[in-house]
Amino acid sequence: MNPVLSLRGISKSFPGVKALSEVQLDLYAGQVTALIGENGAGKSTIVKVLTGVYQPDAGNITIDGAEVHFPTAQAASKAGVTAIHQETVLFDELTVAENIWLGHAPRTRFGLIDRRAMRDGALRLLEGIGATLNPDLRLRDLGIASKHLVAIARALSIDARVVIMDEPTAALSYKEIHELYELVEKLKAQGKAILFISHKFDEIFRIADRYTVFRDGQFVGQGDMGDVSENDLVQMMVGRSVDQIFPARHRNIGAPVLTVAGYSHPTEFADIGFTLHRGEILGFYGLVGAGRSEVMQSLFGITKPSKGATRIDDQVRVIRSTSEAIAAGIVYVPEDRGKQGAVKGLPIFQNVTLPSLSRTSRAGFLRLAEEFKLARDYTGRLDLRAASLDQDVGLLSGGNQQKVVIAKWLATQPRVIILDEPTKGIDIGSKAAVHEFMAELAAQGLAVIMVSSEIPEILGMSDRVIVMREGRIVDEVAGDRMTPETLVRAAAGLAVAA
């Protein structure tokens, strides 16, 4: 059988990063091909190449043996390639039918939108995938699973031959996931070629017919699911040469600083318990959506836990707001710097001193000289490159913004620092600086929690690693057990390797 769609020798570079290097991919009619790889393996990039969002630097795409080019997203959808994303891109205020037909709605002979044809067509498409949804409902009244159905109906409305599903089950409940599996079976029966991207081994083995593995932007292998075991796939995913160098650390782990027990939230996580020591770097690993950030935000006072206790130096501390967390010596450097980190429009020094204003003021008045001194001290230690501390923080590069945000937290003189994906989206040079600094903080006796989805970083920096899956701690690894295989298996919900 010949593939419907084939990629050969596809490469794509961004400044400083080679995202894809001569990869290949084949999709067959009526079959589900699972694309497997760690974060940074190039999965999202290949989806963007396939849907016309990125242009490859080299290589070719063929459909039914004929070479095609997708200069725009429209060109890709015209050729019958469509993607259903993790976060469905739909419009909450429009009806189901309007969402399905937006951009290519049927017209009457006067050129107006033919509402009846639109409604009938929507019904037909929804029935085709076994969904009983009223096409006149507004999307915001639907649950997330129903929204997925609408997205799929929309994909079918353009006569797609290739359907890309990018982690479609990441945000679904157990029951909804099973409905989605049935839907995938229906699409297969209709002869669609499906690319299914997922981190979860159970679902890959359940619904995929074929697999393709990428690692670090390179093609590793492909074949039939029947011919591989879980172990083979894990090996293919992680079998890397560690080319990143992490700073040497003098491990000097002291007394417990933060103890968390029975920490639970009604919907996000349950029974979280761990102890963090002075001078320790504790890694938190898990898939996206495993609840790691949610735990950290709760420890920092942003959301309220339903149960559980936190102790700092053996004293029970109840943290109800972020200011109480800061007062208790806990700080949190969020993942989304743009949204949660820096205040653009304020100069660098004011960003740094924002949580420390009580220390830089006297008798209620801020003292600019002390603010500058504080900002200079901490940005200097991080080797911040800026023309002046008076400069608007929004004008800095991502790596330098990250340094300002970290300097801001260090200036509060914390006992516990939580770094959420500290090196996400920054260049390699800045990454090394952040790693080195993290090691230095631990050496100075700070207790560090690092949430990261990058296995080399987790293994290279942590003293211990806690693995979370679906809102619970599933494993804690240290010493010899700290291997990529252990982490990947625990996070994916596989039995511990013998």
């Binding site: 942003i302 800061i326 820096a342 429009g345 004011q350 801020l366 801001k408």
Partner: protein, 322 residues
Amino acid sequence: MSLLKSREALLALAILLLIGVVAARFPAFVRPANLANVLNDTSPLIILAIGQMIVILTKCIDLSVAANLALCGMVAALMNGAGVPLPLILMGVVALGAGLGAVNGVLVWKLGIPSIVVTLGTMTIFRGTIFLITDGKWVNAHQMSDGFKALPRTVLLGLPVMSWMAIALIILFTVVLTRTALGRSFYAVGGNPHAAVYAGINVGRTQFSAFVISGALAGLAGYLWVARYAVAYVDIAGGFELDVVAACVIGGVAIAGGAGTVAGAVLGALFLGVIKNALPVVGISPFWQMAISGAAIVLAVTFNATQARAPGRIILKSAEAR
């Protein structure tokens, strides 16, 4: 920072230019006494613009300031009628204004209702309350005591007390905004509410404080207005909230929050004040006056929008070297 400063310098230049053009034909306009008169005339607008500017900094808007002013002004006149001494009246109106502002603030903070909706509602409620407590009757000059009417007009060191009050408030709030933690938190809350939360700032409470300040200033302006014009009725300062917002916008206060200065808001108010006072002197009809104010708003916003445009991400290596 230097950008903001230059924006204010430009506005100051525009005001001087305007005064210069008028003075070229009517030298009397630049006589110190007349300029002092313009300042005094603009004082209520300046006081309200300072409060509004703080509210806008936090990503909110207070449309109820003029109605707050009218209600507090009426209460001041009634208290005076009941024989309450002047210092108590002053404290009373500031407290009442702050209380009305607190109502806005609580609705925004605790219920999360958009401020434009809250203050649109309270604006009507405040006016309606004046009607309820007076049955729509006016309080006229002869019903007010002499001391009550005299305070804003009393001249000290060449300027009336009303002008001195405006000047004192300009200084006070410049210090509050640049030199206190509360002032800094107004900027942080408007500039990036999410980041402010992470920095330990309570966003809702900061917005609440902004509304209380705006209300208290409106309360004080209410007394000044009623005493100066020696009349109080339901509709005083009708539509004045739009002038106040306009002053802020002309003064470079970003309507999306997080950027603006007291100096900018004051200059914006002065710009409107000079136009209002100069155009009748030059003999231009009031209709033109409105069109010119309107054009100034559009120009100011266009200017701010082009200035604030982000330079874009640096993706090209060659661009970074520049």
